[in-house]
């Protein structure tokens, strides 16, 4: 195993690296106990420099207010609505079949380009009947992407879910067969359902596929 420059681990702890380099190093740390230990020791040492300064009591109430103003899935709904409107507009201009075909091809190309990179790991997405409906990919940088074999039905989107302790949390929506859900801890259980364009706070259709990755 090739280890990174120790100065880069210092830079990582000081948050002085570019996003790409940071993700690359984090991927290395996931598989290298010695570098991970060095990085954690740096973080602990820097953390010891941080003083405690009391916070005014009113801040907690303000935080509570902000938590209640806009639940996450609603914000994702706004994003999804924008995507959906753009998608609908593009459908109007380009024709339904052509655009869906193009979106599917682009999604597959991006997914398999990433899957071909060193350190990437693929797992099948299986529906409740055990049929493979797509693939889950963990890149060397720890990003997780899901690709379904077919696009969502017209007027619907795919919604990705993190399944933990028997509950589901939305990881985002996509009008294409590709869902880029971002970094997740190892062995996360993920699934996909078909939902209306705004997404749903909980799955409303049977699982299109799930896997642990």
């Amino acid at each position: 195993m090739t280890h990174p420059d120790p100065d880069d681990l210092v830079r990582l702890a000081l948050d002085l690296l570019s996003e790409g380099r940071r993700r690359g190093l984090m991927a290395h740390l996931r598989s290298c106990p010695s570098c991970r230990a060095a990085y954690q020791a740096h973080l602990e040492a820097l953390g010891a420099l941080v003083p405690e300064v009391p916070v005014p009591a009113s801040w907690e109430g303000e935080l509570r207010e902000r938590l209640r103003t806009r639940p996450l899935w609603e914000r994702r709904r706004v994003l999804a609505l924008g995507l959906s409107l753009g998608f609908v507009g593009a459908l109007f201009l380009g024709g339904l079949g052509g655009l869906r075909w193009w979106a599917g091809i682009s999604a597959r190309r991006r997914f398999f380009d990433l899957a071909a990179q060193p350190g990437a790991r693929l797992m099948p997405l299986l529906d409740p009947g055990g049929r493979q409906t797509g693939w889950a990919l963990r890149t060397a940088q720890g990003e997780v992407l899901l690709l379904l074999k077919s696009p969502p039905p017209p007027g619907r989107v795919y919604q990705a879910w993190l399944i933990l302790d028997g509950q589901r949390k939305s990881l985002g929506l996509s009008p294409t067969p590709l869902l880029e859900v971002g970094p997740l801890p190892e062995e996360s259980l993920v699934g996909v359902s078909v939902e209306p364009p705004g997404g749903s706070p909980a799955p409303t259709t049977p699982s299109m596929g799930r896997t642990r990755i």
């Binding site: 996931r30 602990e44 820097l46 010891a48």
Partner: protein, 171 residues
């Protein structure tokens, strides 16, 4: 249950939108997040924003926490550090600060500085200055070399040595 295990459990509950779990973490870590943000930004209003943003980020990203990569406490401070440095870099106060330009005795900032000075007392003055500039002001290795007039290799080795000393002190 140890504090780390309890924090991991709280983060898991936060991932499922448990407000009380987030507020529990807030009560435990907001003073440190606040201390870090004030130390970096030197501005109470901005520091407050960083505290709020840090816990909103945790609210929205708790499922991304990976215990294999560190403790919840360091993850939370890493989020706060990143948010505070981003603000610092976006502001016009991202300037070299001369020694002795600090607030008068007795102020909140003075007490924060005393804390940091205590933590840093195991270090040589030059190592102390390096860590302060790198961690609290976000200077890169290259910028530090220019600022202090040292070769880049010297900056790197002194930073590594400074961190190693602090780590030794924590053991």
């Amino acid at each position: 249950m140890g504090e780390d295990e309890e924090d991991i459990h709280l983060l898991r509950r936060v991932a499922w939108r448990d407000e009380e779990a987030l507020l529990h973490l807030y009560r435990r870590y907001a003073p440190r997040v606040h201390g870090l943000a004030r130390r970096i930004l030197q501005n109470g209003h901005e520091a407050k924003d960083v505290v709020q943003e840090t816990f909103l980020r945790i609210w929205n990203k708790a499922e991304r926490f990976d215990p294999a990569l560190g403790r919840p406490a360091t993850w939370i401070l890493t989020i706060a550090h990143r948010l505070a440095l981003k603000r610092l870099r976006a502001s016009e106060t991202f300037l070299w600060e001369e020694d002795g330009a600090w607030e008068p005795l007795g102020g909140e900032d003075h007490l924060e500085r005393l804390w940091v000075a205590k933590a840093l007392e195991a270090l040589e003055p030059e190592e102390r200055r390096l860590l302060e500039l790198a961690y609290f002001q976000g200077y890169t290795h290259g910028e530090l070399a220019l600022l202090l007039g040292w070769p880049l290799g010297t900056v790197k080795s002194r930073l590594r040595r400074a961190l190693a000393k602090l780590e030794g002190k924590l053991k």
